[in-house]
Amino acid sequence: MELLINHKSASPADNNAVIECRDLTKKFGNFLAVDRISFSVKPGEIFGFLGANGAGKTTAMRMLCGLSYPSSGHATVAGFDVYRQQEKIKRHIGYMSQKFSLYDDLTPLENIQFFGGIYGVPARVIKERSRELVRSLGLEKEATKLVSGLPLGWKQKLAFAIALFHQPRIVFLDEPTGGVDPVTRRQFWDMIYEAAEKGVTIFVTTHYMDEAAYCNRVTIMVDGKIEALDTPASLMQQFACDNMDEVFYRLARTARRKDP
């Protein structure tokens, strides 16, 4: 069993980019789903990954998570190569999507224990930390009830906490706050900030443009390419827009490939 990665440790690797990506490309037949994208993400950075439907976000994210081989280009995630070390990538990242993150017919505690086990966290550590986690989420009363009965906002907070349970250096969040009420959505971002402050890198997609402004840096993909990559403030300045919604609209409406 591999040792847990402690993201707080001051190992030399911490100074390196957590995601490094050069000319990463994915073709399906003649279709260029992802067209030579390049960027690097620093430790503790909140990196927003935006784009219209069909722009290539999901395909890019699947390559970075070790779920799909690139056609060409290079990328490392948490220090591991996307071609040769897919299994290591999977083990060292956290992942949460709006949909498939929790088992509805397990309790919160069972979900934590299950995912902890999958990621190879030692049983003793799971035991200690799962109780503590349930307490810090305010889920004591619900800890032994099925997840299916929890309000959506609580499920999402729990799913995020579980994605971080094995202490990955980076966590991928795929539209984590879809459909959640405005207060809970902001509480969720509090959790994101807290994790980032501890050094966890956050890679997040969202359809809420106010959330784009919460990111340290934002990329906007159009037709498989990265058309913009900067801090929200610089992007708003660069495109002379008052908010990220306008920036996004200005770029995304030029998309030729609207729908596959």
């Binding site: 784009g51 219209a52 439907n53 069909g54 305010g138 309000p151 959506l152 906002g153 609580w154 539209e175 879809g178 459909g179 959640v180 009420d181 405005p182 207060v183 809970t184 902001r186 509480q187 971002w189 509090d190 900030y193 402050e197 359809h207 809420y208 443009m209 106010d210 784009a212 402004a213 919460y214 929200p232 403030a233 908010n243 990220m244 919604d245 996004f248 609209y249 995304a252 409406r253 998309a255 609207k258 729908d259 596959p260």
Partner: protein
């Protein structure tokens, strides 16, 4: 007064008020899971009315009751003058309903789906073509593609065409823009404005607060209760406190500092800004906030008095309503 309202609204001219819901309550699992409690609203002819709230607020339950697909536990509703229980057949032939979940036949083509729904309602695509032309033109190039093979935006347009094919007088659209990107969402709302101009009454639900301003009137809903019903400008106009937008170089530290200041009543992140209301205070609020931020060593502090958005109003109503529950650990 209340009684009078109830009386008049239950027997209005159905020509003026195609949607009337009175005191609708509904729960699931033998009463253990309340979905709607005492919901009343009316939608006037030709109105574009938005039901705004997060997942699980009860939007779909209300839509299903109003479209005769689900029985309420209590309360009554009329659509175009027809009772949703007794006259369900008449309602089904006069309303258009686009459910949140894609519900067309995946293995029929675009054209086959449209022809099928036209036939179901005893009409033909050609007869109704004027109404759907603007929308259908956009999916026409894919008319021989199976519906299951369409992208999200295209499915949405096809579903809208099918919901319109019998020229309904009332259109129910349950979360048509959820999960759709900003560009497609704007296009969709432009289509709705065109339909509204043709006199169709539209009830549309959405979890996106910023879409509220595109509606004539809105109802804010959370945990099965309506928090408010009014025009968007009236709802934001009656926000009961002065609202300040604040930012500084380190926004997350500023958020934590402001929340721990006893002078702050509420503080929420809105994009690159924090929206802040203060408790009872003396002196200029902007100066107070600036001084506090300076004392906490914040750099590049900006404070502005701003007009509230619908989302500000929603948060305010949801967090101050004593009947609301389910949002624990409120800051």
């Amino acid at each position: 007064m209340k009684k009078n309202n109830l009386y008049t609204s239950l027997s209005p001219d159905p020509g003026d008020t195609p949607i009337i819901a009175e005191h609708i309550s509904k729960s699931y699992n033998k009463g253990t899971a309340p979905a709607l409690s005492n919901v009343s609203l009316t939608v006037k002819k030709g109105e574009l009315f938005g039901l705004i709230g997060p997942d699980g607020a009860g939007k779909t339950t209300l839509f299903r009751i109003l479209t005769t697909l689900l029985l309420a536990d209590s309360g009554q509703a009329r659509i175009s003058g027809y009772d949703v229980v007794k006259d369900f057949k008449q309602i089904r032939s006069t309303v258009g309903y686009m459910p949140g979940k894609f519900s067309l036949y995946q293995d029929l083509t675009v054209q086959e789906n449209l022809t099928f729904f036209a036939a179901l309602f005893g009409t033909e695509v050609a007869t109704q073509y004027e109404l759907i032309r603007d929308i259908y033109d956009q999916i026409e190039p894919f008319k021989n593609r199976r519906a299951g093979k369409l992208s999200g935006g295209m499915k949405q347009k096809l579903a809208l065409c099918c919901a319109l094919i019998h020229k309904p007088s009332v259109l129910f659209l349950d979360e048509p823009t959820t999960g759709v990107d900003v560009v497609s969402r704007r296009e969709f709302w432009e289509m709705l404005q065109k339909l509204k101009r043709q006199g169709i009454t539209i009830l549309v639900s959405t979890p996106y607060m910023e879409e509220a301003v595109l509606c004539d009137r809105i109802a804010l809903i959370q945990n099965g209760q309506l928090l408010n019903i009014d025009t968007p400008s009236q709802i934001t106009g009656t926000f009961p406190a002065a609202l300040y937008a604040v930012k500084a170089a380190s926004i997350y530290t500023l958020l934590k500092d402001l929340r721990s200041w006893n002078q702050v009543e509420s503080c929420y992140a809105f994009g690159e800004w924090l929206h802040v209301t203060l408790r009872q205070h003396t002196g200029d609020a902007r100066a107070l906030i600036r001084e506090y931020a300076a004392a906490k060593a914040h750099q590049q502090v900006t404070v502005q008095l701003i007009a509230p958005t619908i989302e500000d109003s929603f948060i305010r109503l949801a967090t101050t309503n004593p009947l609301q529950h389910g949002t624990p650990n409120q800051p």
